[in-house]
Symmetry: C2
Subunit: 198 residues, 2 copies
């Protein structure tokens, strides 16, 4: 296809499979890397090797870190007794960027899905039940995506836990900076139902 040698071609093919990159952007990225070989390419290769050798899932919550128990689970600054349940590590990072939550996390690793035959044992749900008992948890906050699978999973977990602990979920409504005209009907209805006095 292109005239790069086999090694460069192989690198382009691997890069093109990353989410967010396609063949064209992979070629551009690889050319950029080759042009800045010592300042960009070699440090990047080394950073990947280091992460590849050290990254692992936290045995407690499923977060990604470099030790068996992640920094958040180990931290003494985080509040005990509150667990925020997210689908994925990316969602945990998004919550942390928000900066409002000071408790601990639990990463499910996906959602329940009848179609894809994903059951509770395939996710980190049994471990969540264990933690609720073991860590004297007072509140489980479900921060799952507002998709069908995400909400199905939220309902399942709520059913499972609400006899033992307070279960809450993120509020639904108009996003900050959002314009009503561009919002879908479901969000507007939800925001209306959850209206507050000012």
């Amino acid at each position: 296809m292109s005239d790069a040698t086999r090694e460069i071609e192989a690198l382009i093919e691997m890069m093109a499979k990353l989410p967010g990159l396609g063949p064209r952007s992979a070629r551009r990225a690889v050319l950029h890397l080759i042009k800045k070989r010592s300042r960009v390419l070699m440090p990047l290769a080394e950073a990947m090797r280091v992460v590849g050798e050290t990254a692992r899932e936290c045995l407690n919550c499923g977060n990604i870190g470099t030790s068996d128990i992640c920094d958040i689970c180990q931290s003494e600054k985080r509040r005990n007794g509150e667990i925020c349940v997210v689908e994925d590590v990316a969602d945990l990072w998004a919550m942390e960027r928000g900066g409002a939550f000071k408790g601990r996390y639990h990463v499910l690793g996906g959602t329940l899905s009848a179609l894809d035959a994903v059951g509770p044992e395939d996710l980190r749900i049994p471990k969540l039940v264990d933690r609720v008992t073991a860590e004297e948890v007072t509140e489980v906050i479900l921060a799952l995506n507002a998709t069908v699978d995400g909400q199905t999973t939220a309902h399942y977990i709520a059913d499972l836990l609400e006899s033992r602990v307070r279960v809450t979920s993120l509020a639904q409504g108009v996003p900050i900076g959002g314009e009503l005209d561009y919002l879908d009907d479901g969000t507007i209805s939800a925001a209306l139902r959850a209206r507050k006095s000012v």
Copy 2:
């Protein structure tokens, strides 16, 4: 910003600087890499290391390869006497994907630019002049971008070489599959001036 450990954070920052990726897509890409550590991350790190150690510019034409003289310059299947001048290796790859050109290439490494103080010596223009003499070239095909800098560079090279060799440039006109209504006026005018009998 996020709660990944320092090594993962460093990798995300490096990835975010690649062309075509930003902070969000870099985070997604790194999570993807960590999840498929043995099948994707480690081979990618290794491919980068190999390319970093072997890739170099062809001393003759400026193409990127793994030897001092690139495969195209070495190939006996390519036609001698025709040199296609491109700005960048990405343009060379684009020409090769087209598959219509069977001669050799010359990669300038940029365009002349008064603003950025890029003169002929900063590009591979003196080397092009040498090659025209040394390789008994009969035609120089200018395949430079249709930008102001690209066309300035094309005119400069044409002035320099047209006393010694035939200098041509790519045709301008309606792209295959292009709709007139969406084309800029300059392209339509150029296509009209270059009209052919059917």
